[in-house]
């Protein structure tokens, strides 16, 4: 068992006290994931002044307001596009994009896959709660079939997105998914993601008892956590299961861990090449 700092220590070191309490509802999983992320930063000994948090719109996107770092709270779905400008302008900064599933995968789906394609050096911490919590519980593109939302009062009939799977196909350097229940794996994955070059993603199944759970007969966070335990399947096990059995399940684990050069490194080389081609440099 590794030594873990108390939550109070983490809070005092990294949160803006004047912004507390947070806007999150009781039982919301965002606080847990935030804690995982801060612990990962702390364990790695990263410099607080060299990290910028970027976010879009939604409950999870309010996180950069609560942490004591440079933070850019942007428009809906566009966080990764804003991040591209920050990173390329000042490559010394580490970028953490804290996003929700609606933000990253619905309206922001295109920026998501193109940031991955470019291998933008950014770590995405993605809160997947199957719903638009802030606007009142509308169905999200990640919602499994049959789940209810205020705009799917008769149950979702569309197929869901597998965000992690999409990120792997688009070419991300590191992709992992856990539920907030898997906190140790989660922290370790974030540490790994923060240590790597290029695009890294850690997705968390995270409870939203108020906007999502209540409408799906899981009024409390523990009920949602138990449900996650039921529907998640570790990657090793999933590999041996036929597609029919995996229907309605969510696979968790590490899906990709590779070392393609990141956009910053590519652009540095590009500048050199340009000067060489123009005869400005040998």
């Amino acid at each position: 068992m590794m030594y873990m700092k108390s939550a109070y220590e983490i809070r005092d070191k990294y949160l803006r006290k004047d912004m507390l309490p947070t806007i999150f509802c009781p039982g919301c999983g965002i606080g847990s994931v935030l804690q995982f992320t801060l612990r990962a930063i702390d364990d790695l000994g990263l410099n607080q002044d060299e990290i910028v948090w970027v976010s879009g719109i939604g409950c999870s996107s309010r996180v950069p307001g609560f942490v004591n770092f440079d933070g850019l709270h942007t428009t809906h779905g566009r966080a990764l596009a804003f991040a591209t400008g920050i990173k390329l302008t000042n490559p010394d900064l580490k970028i953490i994009a804290f996003m929700g599933d609606g933000d990253a995968a619905a309206i922001g789906g295109n920026h998501f896959i193109h940031a991955i394609r470019r291998n933008l050096d950014v770590t995405v911490i993605l809160i997947n709660n199957f719903t638009y919590g802030m606007t009142g519980g509308q169905v999200a593109p990640t919602a499994l079939k049959g789940l209810r939302g205020t705009t799917a009062p008769y149950g979702q009939f569309e197929n869901p997105f597998d965000i992690a799977g999409l990120a792997v196909a688009a070419g991300a350097n590191y992709v992992a998914r856990w539920s907030v229940f898997n906190y140790l794996q989660g922290i370790n994955s974030i540490k790994k993601a923060l240590s790597k070059e290029g695009f890294t993603l850690v997705e968390f199944l995270s409870p939203c008892p108020i906007s999502f759970g209540r409408r799906n007969r899981m009024k409390t966070a523990p009920e949602l956590l138990r449900w996650y335990q039921k529907i998640t399947v570790p990657l090793a096990k999933a590999k041996k299961m036929p597609p029919e059995e995996l229907e309605g399940k969510i696979v968790i684990g590490e899906f990709a861990d590779r070392d393609r050069p990141g956009l910053v490194r590519e652009y540095e080389a590009y500048k050199k090449r340009a000067k060489k081609m123009m005869g400005w440099e040998e």
Partner: protein
């Protein structure tokens, strides 16, 4: 500093190229864009020059991402620009509002083409004047400039950067397909000849803590850019002086929005620019902007030859608009003509300004061709 084009001498170049060179000389080191006719040549020139001056030129997946990226770059400390045309400009509206709200200095070039919708992609128009002013939602204030020659395209681009930096605001450079693609002789000054303005940075920890305050009383807060240990929080939500979201407090909202208006309107005299020609004894005035002004000048000369006491005003700053000046003008002349390449946009502003003190008549032309001087003359002499 070495430049990838000759400086301190004249060159024969397109408007798009002039804008790109001006941006480089103004210190722009981040460009994000997306291909669109007739603005693509700006991007192509930036792609060629930027890596050579250690800047960034990146092609994003769409126009929404392009303006997002330059806002991010600006907060990381770079002077940043994007260029587009009507359809792309429409897509940028949400994030243009974000730049206004977060007081992010950026320059957005809109090379106007025939619209609405995809319309006439290769032909010039002046149909986005009102969009540049009103296109994003909510109460907002920004600066819009409009050049009429390739030389002005160059000069106004530098001015756009200076105004953006000085007032911590997005500036729209509204040009058109005609100027963008026209080649003219342009004097490209050397860096020593160019006066550049850099954004105010916080002079103390105290100032850095109020990224949306008004420590100097001019309405323009210093900008604590990222990575300097200020731990700035920036949001498009209504925020207090420290940048904290305060979305249900009416007073905070009013204070913020009125300051964003004030910081520009209080400096109207410095921002607003127009040029008068032969107006001293005129009883007919032509008010125009951009490419049409060139035909208007010629029209004034022809009218004078014919004995009509005509004069004209070329509007360089479209927004904020000098309503008061137009009212004074209306008092001096009996009639104002507004030739423009749309069905009436600048006309509305002039009419509001004239305040009933002179008759205002629109000379509209659409379809992609600039008014000929004679078309204006004929309308004036009836």
């Amino acid at each position: 500093m070495r430049y990838p084009f000759p400086v301190g001498k004249s060159d024969f170049i397109q408007g798009d190229e002039a804008i790109a060179r001006a941006a480089i000389l103004a210190g722009c080191r981040f460009y994000a864009g997306y291909p669109i006719t007739p603005a693509s040549e700006i991007f192509e020139a930036m792609a060629l020059y930027m890596p050579l001056v250690d800047g960034v030129s990146i092609q994003m997946e769409d126009e929404i991402a392009s303006i997002a990226a330059i806002i991010g770059a600006s907060w990381a400390g770079a002077k940043a620009m994007t260029a587009t045309s009507g359809p792309g400009f429409s897509l940028m509206m949400e994030n243009l509002g974000y730049a206004i709200m977060t007081e992010t200095p950026i320059v957005v070039v809109d090379v106007q083409r025939g619209g609405p919708s995809t319309g006439q992609p290769t032909l010039a128009a002046q149909g986005d004047i009102m969009q540049a002013i009103w296109g994003t939602h909510g109460d907002h204030m920004l600066i819009v400039l409009s050049p009429s020659t390739v030389q002005e395209a160059f000069d106004f681009t530098i001015r756009a950067f200076n105004l953006a930096e000085k007032y911590r605001t997005p500036v729209v450079l509204l040009t058109d397909a005609e100027i963008a693609h026209m080649r003219e002789r342009v004097y490209i000054p050397s860096p020593e000849e160019i006066e550049l303005v850099e954004r105010k940075l916080p002079a103390s920890e105290e100032e850095a803590k109020l990224p949306f305050g008004d420590p100097h009383g001019d309405g323009v807060p210093p900008m604590p850019i990222f990575g300097r240990g200020y731990r700035t929080y920036v949001t498009g939500l209504t925020h207090d002086e420290r940048g904290r979201p305060r979305t249900v407090d009416a007073e905070v909202h009013e204070k913020l929005i009125t300051r964003i208006f004030r910081k520009i309107l209080d400096h109207k005299d410095e921002i607003i620019s127009y040029e008068e020609f032969m107006l001293d004894d005129a009883d007919v005035a032509i008010v125009s902007t951009g490419i049409v002004s060139r035909s208007a000048i010629r029209a004034v000369k022809i009218l004078r030859e014919r004995g009509v006491k005509a004069g004209m005003v070329k509007i360089n700053t479209i927004w904020p608009f000098d309503f008061d000046y137009i009212e004074q003008l209306a008092e001096r002349v009996g009639k104002i003509y507004v030739p423009e390449m749309n069905l009436g946009q600048l006309y509305h502003l002039v009419k509001e300004g004239a305040n009933g003190k002179a008759e205002v008549e629109l000379i509209a032309k659409i379809g992609g061709e600039v008014h000929t001087p004679m078309e204006i003359v004929e309308r004036v002499v009836g």
